[in-house]
């Protein structure tokens, strides 16, 4: 291509792309897209997939100690769903030209991030309740918004995920409600879990809009449909009432209803903690990645055996 026609073609494609996005068309894998759109999506979708997969660890910690067979079955099913969510999302990211191998490598070397929330430990059974209710609850608010994201495969994965998520939140809330009807020690345990998970759940939505990088392209290209602060407020507005119903206190003395805005105002989030955990210094960052590597390496022989079997079958069928 000659040097002066290339940019012109590129510009025409870009304006056609943006026009389609504005109209509400979905962008599909084989459609032309700007490199920055592709990169943004790969980063966001793979990070989302890694979060689903790493998120299995804090909950997995309680499978063998679930207080009843019913609780154990539910927890197993919930964790299996999260594994499935990871797979839907890895597949969506793969349609953009990154391989599963590369994504795993990026996770294990720290090049790709996952949600900070999973770097906190699950100390008691009440934490399983708090994760389902608050962490999945926060994730749902974000995922409902992403159902209308402009990239077709990502949007379809979100629709599927949202269908499965509401059971996750309800089972968590049921655990919390049950403990709040229990002994004083059980109520204390539930409140303690609330106190530890509330603020990290609010941090899941990311920095305030005023401090959030890369957001303007993400909005123009309809990758993101609502801002971090909008989504956070939506989550708080829903959750306060649910806490009241079961008698839990939200650990924020500044939380109060704002008549004028029609939303709750909340106290300032500890952003130092947020950045400290992102930079790898949360309580469980090292453990989570070490465990992922171990499980991955321990499974290598299974993949090798499956490949060997495939080759053998191909020879036999020829």
């Amino acid at each position: 291509m000659s040097s002066n026609t290339a940019p012109a073609i590129e510009d025409a494609r870009l304006s056609k792309f943006e026009e389609r996005v504005q109209k509400g068309d979905a962008i599909e894998p084989r459609d032309w897209m700007p490199e920055a759109y592709r990169k943004h999506l790969i980063r966001q979708i793979s990070q989302h997939a890694h979060s689903e997969v790493i998120g299995m660890q804090p909950e997995g910690n309680w499978i063998t100690r679930a207080p009843s067979i019913r609780a154990k079955q539910i927890l197993l099913a919930k964790i299996q769903d999260e594994g499935g969510h990871g797979l839907y999302l890895y597949s969506a990211a793969e349609t953009l030209g990154i391989s599963r191998e590369e994504m795993i490598e990026q996770l294990q070397t720290g090049k790709a991030k996952y949600s900070n929330i999973f770097n906190y430990p699950t100390l008691t059974w009440a934490d399983i309740g708090a994760i389902g209710w608050l962490v999945d609850g926060a994730a749902i608010v974000n995922q409902v918004s992403l159902q209308r994201t402009s990239y077709g495969p990502y949007s379809r994965a979100m629709v599927r995920i949202c269908k499965e998520e509401s059971f996750h939140q309800r089972q968590g809330y049921e655990i919390m409600a049950m403990m709040m009807k229990g002994t004083p020690e059980q109520r204390e345990m539930a409140q303690d879990a609330m106190n530890r998970w509330w603020w990290p759940s609010l941090m899941m939505f990311g920095p305030h809009d005023s401090d959030s990088p890369h957001s303007s392209d993400a909005f123009r290209w309809k990758i993101k449909r609502h801002s971090n602060d909008e989504l956070r407020t939506k989550f708080i507005d829903k959750t306060v009432q649910q806490a009241e119903v079961i008698g839990l206190t939200i650990p924020d003395p500044e939380l109060k209803w704002n008549e004028a805005t029609g939303h709750y105002d909340h106290g300032e989030i500890n952003w130092d903690e947020f950045y400290r955990v992102i930079q790898g210094n949360g309580q469980c960052n090292k453990q989570r990645i070490a465990h992922h590597k171990k499980a991955h390496n321990d499974g290598a022989w299974v993949r090798a055996a499956a490949e060997a079997y495939k080759v053998k079958q191909a020879v036999k069928n020829n």
Partner: protein
């Protein structure tokens, strides 16, 4: 040992109810047909979403090119007579 692999890519089509079409549900990784079917079942039908599954190696799918979509589909654009609404029916005719 051979280099590590994440196995091959397969596309998954699920028939929700008996009698309906198989619809694309997503993808799975697997090394052979049987594993692809089992993985598709575990990943896409955990809540009874399916009565039948097809899995197809992703590299066997032939797709139309989005850049040619206008040209590729335009033979249908000027054939309004393929639609029943094109025809003028005599006043008073019933059940047609």
């Amino acid at each position: 040992m051979a280099t590590d692999t994440q196995l091959d890519l397969w596309e998954v089509f699920i028939q929700g109810r008996n009698g309906s079409h198989h619809m694309h549900a997503g993808s799975v990784h697997a090394s052979d047909k049987k594993m692809a079917l089992q993985n598709a079942r575990d990943i896409y039908t955990r809540r009874g979403e399916g009565s039948s599954i097809w899995v197809v190696p992703a590299n066997s799918i032939v797709a139309s090119n989005p850049d040619d979509a206008d040209m590729f589909f335009d033979p249908a654009d000027d054939k309004v007579y393929r639609h029943p609404t094109f025809y003028v029916m005599p006043e008073g005719a019933k059940q047609i």
